[in-house]
Every structure is written in structure tokens, then in C-alpha cells.
């Protein structure tokens, strides 16, 4: 009899290892989410591209939780959230699981958005996203922040240490970082073929505490006698500004930073009045008059990017075409930037406005558009590139 029980025991033990794993297709989760009215609240969200709720891997993204960075991306396994099932809804059982699933859900939505826009093929999918990354470094970069790692083509969403909407749950900030992948693919990777050491030095300046970035080299830092190095600041400004435009259009919210980062919500708002973009000459003279710190250089790029973003956002929203069409136009046009700047990179410090005619090539100019343009670009550019506005 003893042998019979032993046999039965092992049969049941073996068959016990075949728990169902959940199917693919539409899966509904209770998530912290931005609703159609722009309000952040709890909501049941259907994810279409997730293969299984057990593991956050699908056509749209791969989510990593607290993984270390490696030369190839994120080291280790893909996140597996803690969930319980209530009817047909999966409910995260802790904050980390909720953030991990919500991060996937945002990329599910971006994936579908880009599919509808026809821009999906510009970058590779699934996108790689790390949440709750443990970074050492200044608080402003290691917490309550998000980064696009250019060398890894991956996004890092940092832990939240304050109230409000965590950065990783902010649809606008995630979309902003996502846009950087497009700019990297269409612009920086093309430019980098000739200027890689400079790009590495600039990346090191923006993300000084990430060990995979190149070590700083003073000679490669932006300096007034090195046009290439200063042009990288200009490219950075375009990258940041256009990322804000993309995120503003995607969310329909010109103040998308505010729910998570109220301290930058005002300065990065896309509704502030237009201000003229700086010229290359101004950037050069600033660098000649005093050596700027890394923070000052970063601040210059972000400030000029915001001026570009405000003007572009106004054009997107003024009814000439739908905001989504404008976004698709912008994503389509950024591929023309490398060719447009090729002759200037080594010889002249570019004006921050130089990208505007490239992006707006073929865009029908309305009175409103001309007003926004004339407040942002120089009269010379208005006369030369936007003759239809009739500026004398």
C-alpha cells in the first residue's frame, strides 16, 4: 500500500506543475491612469499587446524593474507583477506592480498611436523600459525624473520621492522620453557617424552619473572655438523641444509636466508667449565670455528647446491641420535635419531657429502660424523661408 501512495503522490505532484498562464490578447487591469479628460485617476485599462499578465513583455515594450544597466541594455529578467484577479480585471497588489503594468500600458498606447500615425517603423519595437531604477547621483537626476539612454536605446523611469503623479505614470513625460528614440534614430545616429566623440561628451554632460557614458574630455566639451561642440548643444535643444511638442500633442496637454514636476511645469509650459530663439553667434559669445558649467549648458539647451516647442505647439493646435497630422509631419521631417545641417556642423555655430524651415517645409501658413513664427524666428528667416507670411 505504501508504494501505491508514493506513486499517486508523484503523479499528482507532476501534474500540479501545469498551472494555466493566462492567454494573450486583450487584458484588463486596474491602473493609475490619465483619463480622456486629462485627469489622473484609477481606471480599468485594456492592454492589447501583452502576451500574458504574468510577464510584462509584448509587442509594444519590455518592462524591467530595478534592473541594472548593461552595455546591451537592462541586465536580468523582465518584470513579473504581483496581481490578483477580480472578475475579468487584474488588480496590482503593490505600488511597484501597478507602476510596472502602467508603464507597459503607456507603451501599448504609444504603439497603437504610432501605428495609426504611420511612424512606427522609424524605431525598433518592443521598446525597452526600466522602472524604479536605482541610480546614484544628484537627486534631481536619480529620482523623480526620466531618461532616454541614447547608447542603449532604452528609457529609464526613476523612483518617486514626492507626492503627486509619479514620473513613471505621467503620460506626457513618458511620451517625451519616447520621442527621443525617434530623434536618436533619425538625426543623432546619422550625425554620429561623423561626430561620435562629441556626442559621447555631450551625453556625459547631460547624464554625468551613468557609467556607460563616455568619460568627460575637456577638449571635447563645448567651446567657442569648436563649432561642432556648440552645434551639439543646438541639436540637444531641438531634441528636447520637439520631444515636448510630441508629448504635448500626444496628451493634448500643454502643461503635462505639472502633475509630476510642478517646479518645471511653468518653465516648460507650451502656452507661454513666443520669444525669439537665440542665434549661434549669441551662443558662441556666451561661451567666449565665461566658461559655462555643465548645468548651465544643459539649461541653455532646455531653455532654447522650450522656445522652439511653444511655437511648434501653437502651430499644431491652431487648426491648420489636426494636431496628430502635425505630429506625424514633424516625425516625418526630422529625418531631413542631418542633411540640412551637414554643411554647417564643422564650420558654423548654427542658429537655434535653423531647424524651423526644415520642419515646416510644405506646411500651409495661416495668419496664426505666421504670428507664432514671427515671434520666434528672426525677420531674416521670415523673409527668406516664410515669404507667404508677407513680412517686409
Amino acid at each position: 500500500m505504501q508504494s501505491r501512495f508514493t506513486w499517486l503522490f508523484f503523479v499528482v505532484l507532476l501534474t500540479g506543475c501545469t498551472h494555466s498562464g493566462g492567454g494573450g490578447g486583450d487584458t484588463k487591469f486596474l491602473l493609475p491612469w490619465r483619463n480622456v479628460n486629462g485627469t489622473y485617476q484609477l481606471q480599468e485599462v485594456t492592454i492589447e499587446t501583452l502576451a500574458s499578465p504574468e510577464e510584462l513583455r509584448g509587442e509594444a515594450a519590455e518592462i524591467y524593474d530595478q534592473n541594472e544597466l548593461s552595455d546591451a541594455g537592462f541586465a536580468g529578467s523582465i518584470a513579473r507583477p504581483h496581481l490578483t484577479k477580480s472578475g475579468d480585471v487584474w488588480v496590482p497588489m503593490d505600488a511597484e506592480s501597478a507602476i510596472a503594468v502602467a508603464a507597459y500600458a503607456q507603451f501599448d498606447q504609444l504603439f497603437k498611436y504610432e501605428r495609426a500615425q504611420g511612424t512606427r517603423s522609424q524605431i525598433s519595437w518592443p521598446r525597452r523600459v526600466g522602472i524604479e531604477l536605482n541610480m546614484t547621483g544628484p537627486d534631481i537626476a536619480a529620482h523623480n525624473n526620466a531618461h532616454y539612454f541614447t547608447q542603449l536605446d532604452a528609457i529609464g523611469l526613476m523612483p518617486s520621492t514626492r507626492g503627486g503623479v509619479p514620473v513613471s505614470l505621467n503620460h506626457g513625460i513618458v511620451a517625451h522620453e519616447h520621442f527621443h528614440a525617434h530623434f536618436q534614430s533619425q538625426v543623432m545616429n546619422v550625425v554620429a557617424r561623423e561626430h561620435e566623440p562629441v556626442i559621447a561628451a555631450i551625453e556625459r554632460m547631460f547624464y554625468p552619473f551613468f557609467s556607460f557614458a563616455a568619460a568627460p574630455n575637456f577638449e571635447k566639451r563645448p567651446s567657442s572655438d569648436n563649432p561642432r561642440s556648440m552645434n551639439m548643444i543646438v541639436l540637444r535643444a531641438w531634441n528636447e523641444g520637439l520631444a515636448d511638442v510630441f508629448a504635448g500633442i500626444y496628451t493634448g496637454d500643454p502643461n503635462f509636466f505639472a502633475p509630476s514636476l510642478p517646479q518645471v511645469g511653468w518653465s516648460r509650459s507650451l502656452t507661454l508667449p513666443e520669444t525669439r530663439l537665440a542665434t549661434g553667434e549669441m551662443l558662441q559669445s556666451t561661451l567666449m565670455s565665461q566658461p559655462l558649467t555643465d548645468d548651465q549648458i544643459t539649461g541653455t539647451a532646455y531653455a532654447q528647446g522650450s522656445l522652439l516647442a511653444r511655437m511648434m505647439f501653437k502651430l499644431a493646435m491652431n487648426g491648420t491641420e489636426s494636431p496628430d497630422s502635425f505630429s506625424a509631419r514633424m516625425l516625418g521631417r526630422i529625418a531631413a535635419i542631418p542633411e540640412a545641417v551637414a554643411g554647417k556642423m564643422d564650420h558654423t555655430v548654427m542658429d537655434f531657429e535653423d531647424v524651423v524651415p526644415v520642419l515646416l517645409d510644405g506646411f500651409p501658413l495661416s495668419v496664426d502660424s505666421c504670428g507664432a513664427l514671427s515671434g520666434t524666428v528672426s525677420p531674416e528667416m521670415m523673409k527668406g523661408s516664410f515669404k507667404a507670411c508677407g513680412v517686409q
Binding site: 501512495f5 500540479g16 506543475c17 498562464g21 529578467s77 503593490d94
Partner: protein
């Protein structure tokens, strides 16, 4: 699968009824459970108090147990509180039972009854869910002075919709009559 476990438990019970007079035990247990984190490369250990009742009809036994676990986590304005009540039934077969101790193998099934309270910004939500589990284990049981029951048991659990097995260790102290 569930049917085969139930059949096994019934077989164990029917065979053993004819063999021995039942003993009953009631007591407390401490369970340490090692389970993976959201990053599956890392594991965390959690401890729970447990209440159990045992009917022993040598060489088989049936055990009923229950425990509760609560957890509260935050990120920004997101707050998630979960309360899980576990109820499980385990069948045992004592495969070695010399005079002063018993070695047993066990199979069990049950469920975690979860309640999750979530708050985010100005919204809140309360959901209840269930996760079934099944498991297998092995352990050692000793009875002192005819009534004091001490047991240690190691288990492996498979929880519904979770890819990873959960390892568990239990220490029980009970009164046997």
C-alpha cells in the same frame, strides 16, 4: 488536476480509517515564505502567523490551515494596501513512522482571498480577488508527552497565474489529543 488531488485525499483517508483511531491536533504555526519580487531575479522572504487543525489517522492525515498577510506600498500619490487571507487543505501520508517521530509527505490545495485597496490622486478603489494554489511538501512530526506536537515542514507552492514557485518553511506547535 484538482479532481486527482481530491481523489488522492479521499483514498488516503479511506485507507487509514480502517487502520487507526484518529488523533486531533490544534495549534499555531510560523510560516516563512520566499517569493520573487517584481524583478524576478530577486527574492524576498516574508513571515506569517498561522492557525492549523489536524486530523491524523495513521498513516494519513488531513490538515486545515489559515493565515493572513497585509502589505502597504506607496509611490507619489499612489497607495496600494493588500490583505490576503489564505485557506488551505493538506493531505499527508506518513511514509516513515518509527516510535518517536514521523516523516511525512504532503499535498495541498487552497486559495488566497485578496482584498486590494488602491488610492491614486483623488480616486480610490476596492477590489477582491482570488488566487488558487496547490503545493507539495515534506516534513517531520514529533509528539512529546503524548500531547505536545512539534512539526517542521518544507513546501513548494504553485500559485495561480504566477510562473514562479514559492518556497515555504513552517514550524508548528500544537496540542494533540
Amino acid at each position: 488536476m484538482w479532481r486527482s488531488v481530491a481523489i488522492l485525499l479521499l483514498v488516503c483517508a479511506s485507507q487509514s480509517w480502517a487502520l487507526a483511531k484518529p488523533d486531533y491536533a490544534l495549534g499555531l504555526a510560523l510560516e516563512a515564505r520566499e517569493q520573487r519580487e517584481v524583478n524576478p531575479d530577486t527574492n524576498g522572504a516574508r513571515g506569517f502567523g498561522q492557525l492549523y487543525g489536524l486530523v491524523r489517522m495513521r498513516p494519513a492525515a488531513v490538515e486545515i490551515e489559515t493565515s493572513q498577510d497585509s502589505n502597504e506600498t506607496h509611490s507619489g500619490s499612489l497607495s496600494v494596501k493588500s490583505l490576503s487571507t489564505m485557506v488551505g487543505a493538506w493531505g499527508r501520508y506518513e511514509y516513515l513512522h518509527p516510535a518517536d517521530y514521523t516523516l511525512f509527505a504532503s499535498l495541498g490545495l487552497g486559495a488566497f482571498f485578496d482584498r486590494v485597496d488602491t488610492q491614486f490622486q483623488t480616486s480610490s478603489d476596492h477590489h477582491s480577488g482570488t488566487r488558487d494554489f496547490m503545493g507539495a511538501g515534506t516534513g517531520l512530526s514529533v509528539v512529546f508527552w503524548e500531547h505536545l506536537q512539534l512539526e517542521v515542514e518544507g513546501r513548494i507552492l504553485s500559485i495561480q497565474e504566477s510562473k514562479d514557485p514559492v518556497l515555504s518553511g513552517l514550524v508548528r506547535v500544537g496540542c494533540q489529543i
